[in-house]
């Protein structure tokens, strides 16, 4: 595997191998000096054409803990505003010597295009509504390490709740969960579901459930998606209050969760839209674990793609 553009780029053994690698990285992150020389001398460029401070910092932290040099390019401070094309930007940075590009863009498919313009490795850090593969992997890592049956999610039921249609997280996470053996339910109004084809599933390997209350008591993982406030502008929902009424996690709904069920959210949360309960009060919340696991999983991704020396992981500085 040279690039990570789509969770479909990885088969199940590759996903398992990566989750195991993330265990090593998690161990490194617990050390007094959480830094190893595995990618010393390599350069990772984060090219963020859409604002996302969290994801950018997570990738950059991962790269730095592996001792890679990090270059940051963000649209707001760059010559993109002077009319330079993305292709020119990528070719220019490549010419400076980049081993991996971490790319975020508001348009689906851009990371795939970037692979045509550089010899470097490309990691998709989120493109349009399409994919956010490291999110899918870190979510799988979070669930499997919390519920513990190796790297399998067999026998688990997951509900992904909210605006699936516009969510790259839902596309990546549902794919990884499904292929690791979970039953994946997509919960939300039909207007926020991807339009499937000929009555088929909205996304491969998923089932749709229109009503949160009828499924919440049976899930092992409740995965809440962020709801954009402007969705009512294009007639997708009547208003945010009605949306919250039907699909938000409220204190009442939280009481219907099974004991031991996990609650997850890719962040940032809307505490007045889809999360009407304080996650700190939920014993099953893994929302902060997702963030810290994100660093370990992204370290594993960069290490695997850039072919870091295995010896480089054990040596502390």
């Amino acid at each position: 595997m040279r690039h990570l553009l789509d969770t479909a780029d990885m088969d199940v053994p590759a996903i398992s191998g990566l989750l195991d690698m993330a265990d090593h990285m998690a161990e490194i992150n617990t050390r007094a000096v959480p830094k190893v020389p595995a990618l010393r001398g390599r350069t990772v460029a984060s090219v963020f054409m859409e604002d996302s401070t969290r994801t950018r910092l997570s990738f950059e932290t991962a790269a730095k803990r592996l001792s890679a040099d990090v270059m940051t390019f963000s649209a707001s401070t760059s010559s993109v505003n002077k009319g330079e094309s993305l292709r020119d930007t990528i070719e220019t940075l490549s010419a400076m010597g980049v081993d991996a590009f971490v790319v975020r863009h508001k348009s689906s498919g851009v990371p795939a295009a970037v692979t045509q313009w550089t010899d470097a490795t490309v990691v998709n850090a989120g493109d349009g509504w399409h994919q956010h593969p490291t999110q899918g992997l870190l979510d799988a890592y979070t669930v499997t390490r919390s519920l513990g049956a190796g790297n399998s999610m067999s026998g688990l039921t997951v509900a992904i709740v909210g605006d699936v249609k516009h969510s790259r997280v839902a596309r990546s996470t549902s794919d990884v969960f499904h292929r690791l053996g979970a039953r994946v339910l997509l919960v939300g109004p039909a207007t926020l579901m991807p339009s499937g084809h000929c009555g088929g599933p909205a996304l491969p390997g998923t089932e749709c459930a229109p009503d949160l209350d009828s499924v919440i008591g049976g899930v092992d993982v409740l995965y809440m998606l962020r709801m954009q406030r402007e969705r009512m502008d294009s007639a997708l929902v009547p208003d945010i209050a009605e949306y919250s009424c039907r699909f938000a996690l409220t204190p009442e709904r939280a009481k219907s969760l099974r004991e031991g069920a996990l609650v997850m959210h890719p962040g940032p949360m809307n505490r007045d839209v889809e999360m009407l309960v304080d996650p700190a009060m939920l014993p099953g919340s893994r929302i902060l674990a997702q963030v810290s696991n994100g660093v370990s999983v992204r370290m594993a991704v960069l290490f695997t793609l850039l072919g870091g020396a295995p010896g480089g992981l054990v040596e502390t500085r």
Binding site: S85, H105, S108, G109, A112, A113, R168, R171, S234
Partner: protein, 434 residues
Amino acid sequence: MSKQTRRNAAGDLVIKSGSVVNPDGIRRADVRVSDGMVTEVGENLEGPNLLDAEGLYVSSGFVDLHTHLREPGREEAETVETGSRAAARGGYTAVVAMPNTDPAQDSVHVVRFVREQGRRAGLVDVHPAGCITVGREGRQLAPYASLAAEGVRIFTDDGNGVQDPLVMRRALEYARDLGIVLAQHCEVSSLTGGAVMHEGSCCSSMGVPGWPSIAEELMLHRDIELVRLTGAPMHFLHLSTAGSVELVRRAKKDGLPVTAEVAPHHLSLTDELLAGFDAVFKVNPPLRTMADIEALRAGVADGTIDAVATDHAPHPARTKELPLDQAPPGMLGLETALGVVVTSVNPGPVRIAELLSWNPARIAGITERHGRPVAPGEPANLAVWSNESVWTVSRDDTASRSRNNPYHGMELRGRTVHTIHDGEIVVRNGEALK
């Protein structure tokens, strides 16, 4: 520049040993061309200039109802001359130039300019289409009578559907008595906002906004009913869905004066090609599913679809390299249309001539010079072509200024060999002579 003298003044041209395709059948014959006209069709004709057509068909030249020549306004993508040359290489002797130029072809002076550029290039007859509404904005009617007096016979806002049913109704009523035809781009735009590709399972997985079939079918259905109400004829551009074929089939059964075209890519390519996010496959209306392709092929076979029209839409690489949601829609088509029709439908030489020449000439209102029988006294606008020859498409082997060819690297059966425009050989063995 031409190595031939115009109209072969030095002597007659004889197209030797071809199979001449006419509505009453196919017969092996030589065709003598003199002074821009076919003068003789018979056996053992001789002359100073011979053009070998052994194993090839000789038919009236093809007529494209749907060509974007981009001039004036977007000469970076194509000019009337380069587009005309691509057309000639495809066997076309006439093209209808779509009016979404800048400025749009909604006034006499722009129409004159485009036609004059066509004359200057001298490769095919360029017939500018007029606009249905001023600036293609869907509000005020364009001056049909003034444009008709300039020879414009077909009017469209192509690229935009006329959204307002009142405007469409008035346009049909006003046009009815002028001997012109309105051609609709069927797309209810509020259903296709930001759309990148066919709304279906591929689009769902790829996470891009979809262009649902219903957006085409709703407007088609509305306009069929407006034709029923007004009695004015109407032509439907680039139909792409199984439901559209059925709507037109029923309208024709009801005896309504409607005609329909399909683009070669909608007979051959599916939405799955977009999985790699390559904008060369982005087109409007979008590539759809195999079920749609099969319905369109059936419509071609049973006569529901009258014509194959290319929707040749050149774009520079610079814009096709933009992200899929920002790249402009459209693909080249003039040089591959015959090959795609033969490869995907193979309806036989007479039906090919009907789909590519006779019917589009009739719809475009240019039957005085195009879509004529190959017979003495008829204008010598001729295509000489094979439905057997197999070739591999290369985007670089083109007369177009652009390279957005979706068939690059694919094998096609069927190709134009020679094109005679106005009695002059403009393409010989696939190469443009001017």
